[in-house]
Symmetry: C2
Subunit: 312 residues, 2 copies
């Protein structure tokens, strides 16, 4: 297996990405090779500084950088030698099995949609976030940011994507899928949620358990919570805000520690024809390491294939 890593991606790259690669290397089995994509000299220098033999990795020289704030479509088209464009080229050519980056999310999406494309039948690919549950398990919420406006059939498909993801990657059997809403009853919510409930309630594609509310995000009511990317992104950032406040107030608590994004390493883009992992822009070395381990997991369980089968 080969995992491509965007060395230039992230607020603190390339130091943190090289650090993450070195950390991941210690945990990956020898048959898994990391392909470090970025400026060859910079990578070699950072590996030398860490006294790591460069032979441990494959290095692909891609000296250009798509910065965090750049307009994604333009940047992706105009910078074929950027680490992100090079990564998608490798992915499309089958020279890597997964591509992971904590860089410009927009450019990662553009690369995904124009290079490897959405799986036939998937209306809108999406991204997820992990919800640490009170009982020690995890749930997921999706979409959390790439589809601000969602039609009911898109929300329905998120149910399928979320079910497959949590089953395969987190080992949750027959996950309970819920619709994020503002009441328990079928007729509650905005027009899209009402229509989505109508589609989901007789679903044979997943176990629909009805509506979940904001108060159910961290309890055991549902394993997969489906919403539009606008609401999901607000939910995700509110949880991050709480975690930051907990840290600021120097509260040490095992449960709340599980809100640390570092532990999850990011999210695959669900519903595209390849394994693409997006990490948090602020990723440190540990977060990058976990992003690489998530990439391995996603390749090993053949997440993409499973999703393709579901949409055949």
């Amino acid at each position: 297996m080969k995992i491509g890593l965007d060395i230039a991606g992230g607020d603190y790259a390339p130091e943190t990405t090289v650090e993450g690669a070195v950390l991941a290397d210690m945990e990956l089995s020898p048959d898994i090779k990391q392909v470090l994509i970025g400026d060859q000299e910079v990578i070699a220098g950072l590996l030398k500084k860490r006294k790591v033999a460069p032979e441990k990795f494959e290095i692909v020289h891609a000296p250009d950088v798509i910065a965090m704030g750049e307009a994604p479509t333009k940047a992706f088209a105009q910078k074929p030698n950027s680490s992100i464009a090079a990564g998608f080229k490798l992915l499309r050519e089958g020279r890597i099995d997964a591509f992971a980056s904590a860089g410009n999310t927009g450019a990662m999406l553009v690369g995904s949609m124009y290079t490897v494309r959405a799986i036939s039948g998937v209306i809108r690919p999406c991204i997820t976030s992990v919800l640490p549950k009170e009982d020690g398990g995890v749930g997921i919420i999706l979409d959390v940011g790439i589809n601000s406006d969602c039609k009911p059939d898109v929300l329905y498909q998120f149910g399928i994507l979320g079910k497959i993801f949590i089953e395969q990657v987190y080992g949750v059997k027959n996950p309970k899928v819920a619709l994020l809403n503002i009441g328990e009853e079928e007729e509650k919510g905005n027009l899209v949620a009402q229509a989505a409930f109508g589609l989901m309630k007789d679903s044979k594609d997943f176990s629909f358990i009805g509506n979940a509310e904001g108060r159910d995000l961290f309890n055991g009511k549902a394993d997969v919570i489906v919403c539009d990317g606008f609401t999901g992104n607000v939910v995700l950032k509110e949880a991050e805000a709480f975690y930051c406040l907990i840290k600021k107030r120097k509260i040490s608590d095992q449960y709340f520690d599980r809100f640390n994004y570092e532990a999850y390493g990011g999210t695959p883009i669900l519903g595209i024809n390849a394994n693409v992992i997006i990490g948090h822009g602020i990723s440190n070395g540990v977060a990058v390491k976990n992003m690489i381990l998530l990439a391995r997991e996603v390749v090993e369980v053949k997440l993409c294939e499973k999703i393709k089968q579901a949409f055949q």
Copy 2:
């Protein structure tokens, strides 16, 4: 001043509502009279149990109850002798200056819209929630649940309603108004948010500071955060979930203690022709007391009048 209280309203009524009235009585000046609306005998019995002279209060006999789960429109029409219907009758006739209830929110809305009605020019009345800020102050978010789908001009008006409310009731001068969104830039967000930004950016009705994200809910970026009632309700219930988890985990922290809903007593319905306060269904005695004190505040600052003036 006369404040009407729905004695039958709330999950733990009438015990908690009578308790709240007695607690509030100790803090209200003698020129403020509480009008207890509910079953006369029940009220008299509960006051006697607490050894409180019934003369302290005005009691209006309204023996029927609109239960928490009842269909609001039907219940309101069919139960003229319910505490909620009686409260609105008193309000419309000018026999009370405010009406407060922790009961069936839907029935309180129906009563508001059919009895006292929306202020001319206000497209959609709304409700708010307090956001405890890190720096010790408070912000507000609106709408938090009565308008699941909002057009851009409705969101714009929430900016006006929120500004007046926080200025008058919480004394925040020239409040910073933001639009809840999923990025800082103007073009971010769903279609409604994008259009609302366009309306708000040149506003002369309030100081618009741009978008606020989920991570900004508890920091000092904005005093008033505007969103549709679907997103706002999810935000509110997620914050409640966090507060519950903090309590469950026996974390004691001054800042997080400020998430206790009891302290705020509820929210006025903003944009109607009378002072109506809605409390949390799970209100205990302290929460009911604070709901009554909020009603006093809203009457004293002439919140309704100020909003009417703004929409003239």
